[in-house]
Symmetry: C2
Subunit: 269 residues, 2 copies
Amino acid sequence: MSPKIGVFDSGFGGLTVLGALVRRIPHACYTFLGDTARLPYGSKSRRTIAHYAAEAAQFLVNKQGAEYLVIACNTASALALDAIQDAVPVPVLGVVEPGAKAAHAASKTGDVLVIATDATVRSHAYAMACHAQGLRALEKACPLLVPLVEEGWTNHPVTAQVIEVYLSELRAEAKAEGLHYDALVLGCTHYPLLRSLFEKAVTPGVRIIDSAEATAEAAMHLFGQNGENQPDTARVRCFATDSVDKFERLGSRFLGRPVGKVELVDLGG
Amino acid sequence: MSPKIGVFDSGFGGLTVLGALVRRIPHACYTFLGDTARLPYGSKSRRTIAHYAAEAAQFLVNKQGAEYLVIACNTASALALDAIQDAVPVPVLGVVEPGAKAAHAASKTGDVLVIATDATVRSHAYAMACHAQGLRALEKACPLLVPLVEEGWTNHPVTAQVIEVYLSELRAEAKAEGLHYDALVLGCTHYPLLRSLFEKAVTPGVRIIDSAEATAEAAMHLFGQNGENQPDTARVRCFATDSVDKFERLGSRFLGRPVGKVELVDLGG
């Protein structure tokens, strides 16, 4: 039997997590929901985010029959994982803890940097998850990176410059706080599309941790679904609460395969 | 008696319009509502935007007693002005038509450029309003400018470069279509904060039209409220549906005076 995995994000950026899941559990049935009518969660309060995310989780489990849930939205994982777990009776995995665990596995110095959206940083969810792994973490909000990715400037000199500005601010802050970091966590689902620019920009020896990949790895273990040696029979069905055109236009670059037709759903918000 | 003017925006960017209103009608009582829980409208569908904007207008008129309404959001003016006018019994003014009329007054060649958010451009509301004035208009979405303004990079070399990229694309498109433009309409409430960068970047002889200023001028006439020679007794009360902190932190730069305490309101979305 194919496992049924629901994947939720505030937008379509979480398709990078879905793509990583498909590569590791290729025999599953996936239902992805992007709450595009109410994005970005990044600028909203914990109360609002918890309310929206619980509604979305209930849609995936109660209406679509998901047996496992992956919260591919860093903001919702950071601010609303408890609310989601209370709302549905299936195993729920967020992206924050797997990212922190992968940082722990990669770092020798025990000091790491985390970049994310403003709300994820303000929640300090990554810092807390890193501390739980015995790491010191310095977090920084990089609000320009999502719009640059959505503009398609994933290999543009302006984007390289913006990354350089953010990284040099981070270097100065790390120095001021006496951190000897050797890992950089990409704490936003859009950032894997900037991975090659980050690889050129970081100090040599600094490992880049992709939360999407780390989460897919963790899902394999938590859900007991090892897709090794399984044929790729993945089925992917995508829903969005608005802006289906944009989702269809940009989504395939994030997923790494065609997203196909995206269905509109009204969560009543 | 002080007139009561309600001003609505999807976020706090419309504070540039409120600031322009206060300068021209300084004896009025203003209530501003930023629907920050549901921004940005720019990426949402016409149906969703009309629903949200009508709710906001009813709050300003029915709950706050506004006698006049200014829709300071380009996207809502472009996509939902009729829906708002149907929802409330007071005069409603959007920002699109005043911008087009100001472009008409400024242009000698009859060809103008309009820059705005993606949804405003996709609605072609400015192109239609310009055509109604006998102008030819070339529109372009500049989705990176709002995040750059919100990051505070209003005088940053990266922002100057992004503006140069957008303007050079516009120049090429204008050339291809045989347009001899002499005016550039800033069709987004955030863009007035980039006015000095645009003034340095445009071809000499091109006039910059600020929709916020044009709208305040039009409001003075439509509402029969000429504030000339009136003392500045303006009172401003601000509401937001979420993210009150961000509103308070960034709002004063947009308004041109302190925004003071921002009150949280729940529109039920």
